[in-house]
Symmetry: C2
Subunit: 430 residues, 2 copies
C-alpha cells in the first residue's frame, strides 16, 4: 500500500475545520493542530462578552466534532514556524511532516503601533478576551454603585467602543441593552440607564463595508438605543481613566473607565513566520498574498486560508475577514487537494457572497444579501436563524436557541459573572 498523503491543517477555526470536514472521504491522513481544544464560533463572541451566552455555548471540542472521522487526528499544540524546503511544520514542542499544508491561524488584535493600549482597551478574539470584557463591563457598574464622587462615577458609567464594524456595532448595541434593560431595578445608588455608550469610527459611517443606506439604518437603530455615534473620529491616546480622540483639529479627552477595542486585526505570529519562511511580504492588515488557488506563490503545497489570506476577487475587492469566506476557502482547498491527487485541475477560488448582516440590540438588525436588503425585526430574525444554523452541533443549537428565547422573553442575561483574577479593585469610599 502506498504511503498516505499527509495533510496538516493549522487552526480549527472556520477555515481549518471545514477543510478537515471536507476531506472526510479522501484517501489522505489529516492532522489538525490547534492551540485550543475547541472550535470557536467567533461571530457570537460579543454575546459572551455581554453576558448573554456562556463560552461553552459557542465552542465545541474539536475532537468531538471529528470523532468519527477516522482519517483525522487532532493535536493540541502551537505551530510556530514552517520549513518549506523540508516540508516540516514546527511546533513549540515537536514537528510534523506534511505533503500538503493548510495554514488558517486567524488574526489577532491590532493596536496600530500602540501596544500599550491593549491593557486599557481589550479586544475580542478569544474566550478569555470575552470573559475579560464581561468582567470589565460588569465591574464598571459595580464600582459606579459604590463611587460617591459624581465625576468619577460618570467615568465608570461611560463605555467607549472603538471601531464601527459589525463587532463594534453589536457590542455597542448590547451595552445599551444591558444599561437600559438588563440592569434596570438592580442598583440602588446609580441608574444604569444613565450610562453613556459611545461608538467611535475613523471613517464617516458605521458598517463601512455595507451599502450606505444600511449604514444609515444601523446608525438610526443605534441612536434609538441611546448610543452616541462619533464618526470621522480617531483615537490618539488611551489611559486607565480616559480616552483621547480627535475629530477635526483639537484632541478631546473623554473620561471613561471602559474602552473596548473592535478596530483592527493583524496577522498572527505564525502568519509573520510564514511570510519570512516563504520570502513573501505581508500586505495591508497583515495578510499574505496568495495565488487564485490559495497557494503561496512559489510553494504550491502550502495554502493560506481565512483571515490571513489576501487576494483580490475578480471584482478587484479583497475578501472580507468573515466566517463564510474562511469556510468556502476551507472547502475549496480540500477539494483542490483531492483533485490534485487524482490528477484533476481546479478552477480558481471564487467567494460566493451570501450577504452581510449585523444585529443591533434585541430585535433590530441590517442585512444585505446582495439581491435584497432589509432591516429591523426581519433582519434580526434572519441573523438569528443563520447563526443558529452554522453553530456546530445540534446540542449547541438547542441550548443557544433556548437561551436566546429566554433572554428575549425575560430581557435578562444570565451569564453575567465576574470571574478571573483581581476580583474587586473597587474604589475606597462607601
Amino acid at each position: 500500500m502506498p504511503k498516505m498523503h499527509r495533510v496538516v491543517i493549522v487552526g480549527g477555526g472556520f477555515g481549518g475545520l471545514y477543510a478537515a470536514l471536507t476531506l472526510r472521504n479522501a484517501s489522505v491522513e489529516v492532522t489538525l493542530v490547534d492551540r485550543r481544544n475547541f472550535h470557536l464560533f467567533q461571530p457570537l463572541l460579543y454575546q459572551v462578552a455581554t453576558g448573554a451566552l456562556s463560552p461553552a455555548n459557542i465552542a465545541s471540542p474539536l475532537r468531538h466534532i471529528l470523532r468519527h472521522r477516522d482519517n483525522a487526528t487532532v493535536l493540541l499544540g502551537e505551530a510556530i514556524d514552517i520549513r518549506p524546503q523540508e516540508n516540516v511544520l514546527v511546533l513549540r514542542d515537536g514537528q510534523l511532516n506534511y505533503d500538503s499544508l493548510i495554514i488558517a491561524p486567524g488574526t489577532q488584535n491590532n493596536y496600530f503601533g500602540h501596544a500599550d493600549w491593549a491593557r486599557h482597551a481589550p479586544g475580542l478574539k478569544s474566550i478569555e478576551d470575552a470573559t475579560e470584557m464581561r468582567r470589565r463591563i460588569l465591574l464598571a457598574f459595580e464600582t459606579a454603585e459604590r463611587e460617591t464622587d459624581a465625576a468619577k462615577r460618570q467615568a465608570w458609567l461611560t463605555f467607549v467602543v472603538v471601531g464601527g464594524g459589525p463587532t463594534g456595532v453589536e457590542l455597542a448595541g448590547s451595552l445599551a441593552e444591558i444599561a437600559r434593560d438588563t440592569l434596570r431595578h438592580e442598583f440602588r445608588s446609580i441608574h444604569p440607564g444613565s450610562a453613556v455608550i459611545i461608538l467611535l469610527d475613523a471613517v464617516d459611517r458605521v458598517l463601512p463595508s455595507y451599502p450606505p443606506d444600511l449604514s444609515a439604518k444601523a446608525a438610526r437603530a443605534l441612536q434609538k438605543l441611546g448610543v452616541t455615534l462619533e464618526t470621522q473620529t480617531s483615537v490618539t491616546d488611551i489611559q486607565e481613566d480616559f480616552i483621547e480622540v480627535k475629530h477635526g483639529d483639537a484632541p478631546r479627552r473623554i473620561p471613561a473607565r471602559t474602552v473596548l477595542w473592535a478596530a483592527g486585526v493583524q496577522a498572527s505570529p505564525l502568519g509573520q513566520a510564514l511570510a519570512k519562511a516563504t520570502g513573501r511580504p505581508l500586505e495591508r492588515g497583515g495578510r499574505l498574498a496568495v495565488h487564485p488557488d490559495l497557494s503561496v506563490p512559489g510553494h504550491e503545497t502550502i495554502f493560506v486560508i481565512g483571515d490571513l489570506a489576501q487576494c483580490a476577487g475578480p471584482d478587484g475587492k479583497p475578501w472580507p475577514g468573515i466566517a463564510p469566506v474562511a469556510m468556502q476557502q476551507g472547502r475549496y482547498v480540500a477539494r483542490l487537494i483531492e483533485n490534485r491527487l487524482s490528477g484533476k485541475k481546479t478552477a480558481p477560488f471564487r467567494y460566493a457572497s451570501k450577504g452581510d448582516m449585523a444585529t443591533i440590540g434585541r430585535a433590530a438588525g441590517v442585512a444585505d444579501l446582495g439581491w435584497v436588503r432589509f432591516d429591523g425585526f426581519l433582519a434580526w430574525l434572519a441573523w438569528l436563524f443563520i447563526h443558529l444554523w452554522f453553530l456546530v452541533g445540534f446540542e449547541d443549537r438547542l441550548l443557544v436557541f433556548t437561551q436566546w428565547a429566554w433572554n428575549y422573553i425575560s430581557r435578562n442575561r444570565s451569564a453575567r459573572l465576574i470571574t478571573g483574577e483581581n476580583l474587586a479593585k473597587i474604589q475606597p469610599p462607601l
Copy 2:
C-alpha cells in the same frame, strides 16, 4: 420616622441569600456584601469541573435575584474584619455599620498543614477552581495522546481523587464516565477507557456520614464504573508527578499527574478574624461555636450561619456542612431578627434534615431521607429533581434541565473547554 434597623449580611451563599430573601417584608434595611457578584450553587460545582455544565448554569447574579426586594442592597466588596464594640463591619475598602450582623462566608479548602499540596491538587470551592480542575483533567488526556513514553503516558492517565465524601464520590464517578463514555472515539493514540481513577479516603468507607449500607452500595456503583477505591488510606505527599499514600505501614507512590482535592475545609479568613474579634476559639474544622440561636456567645447581634457555624444539635451531632443546613439557618436568623424587633422570643434553631443524597455517574445514586433509603436510578432521579428545584431562577432550571437531558441522551459533555492561562504545557516528543 424612626431609623431603620440595619441588617448586614456577609456572603451570598445559601445561608446569606436565604436570610436576605426571608427578610423581604421586614422593616429593616438589608445590605448583602459578597466578593463575588453571583450566588453559586456549590453542590453542582463538580459538574462544571467535569465539563457537563457551564459556570453560568449554576451561578446567578445576586443583584438579579434581589432586584425587586426594595429593602435590599447588594454590595460587591470583601469583608475582612469585625469591630463588635462599634457595630462595624470592616471591608477591604470601607466599612459598614450594622444593628444585626449575619456572617456566612463559607469555607475554603483545607490541606491540613500542607499548603504546598494546593498547587498540585486543586480543591473545588469556586468557579475558578472548577474551570482549573476541568483544564487539568482535559489537558491530561491531551498530553497523554502526545506522550510516547508508556510510563509517563500512564501517569497522565491516572487520576486520584482525595476524599470520599459526596464531592469526591461525584468527581470520581464523573471522571470514570468521561474516560469510558464521553471521550470514547475521540483519541487516536490512547484509549481514554484505560485511564485509572482512584478514590482515596482515610476512613474505612466512602460517604462516611451516610448509613453503612448506602456506603456499600455507593462503593459497588463506583467499582462498576471502574473506580478503584482505596479506603483507610491517607496521603503523605503530593508532588507534580506522583502522590504518596499510606495504607497500613509502608508509604507507596502512585505516579499520577492529576490529583483532585475533596478532603477537607477550614474557616475562611473572615471566620478567623471573627474568632479573634470576639475572643472565641475556632473549633475542629475551623468552625466557630455559636449559641443555639446562632448568635456568637457574648455578642447577641452577631450571628454565624452556614459552614462556619458549629453547634451540636439536640442529638449531639454537629450540623453537616451542606446547603440545607445553611438555608434553614438563614431563614431562622431572619425570623429571629424580625421577632426581636417586635419583642417576641424565638425557639432555638433545629436542623430538620431532609436527607442526604449523592450521584454516582450517569444513572446511579444513593439517597437517605431518614424514613427511607434507596439507591440506583430512583436515587439519581430524586437527586436531579431536588437539585433542579433549588436552583435559583426559572431560567437556570430550564437550561440545566435541557443540558442534562441532552447530556443523558448523547453521553456528551459539551462544556469541555480548556481555558485560562498556560494553555499548552505539553510534553516534548511527538
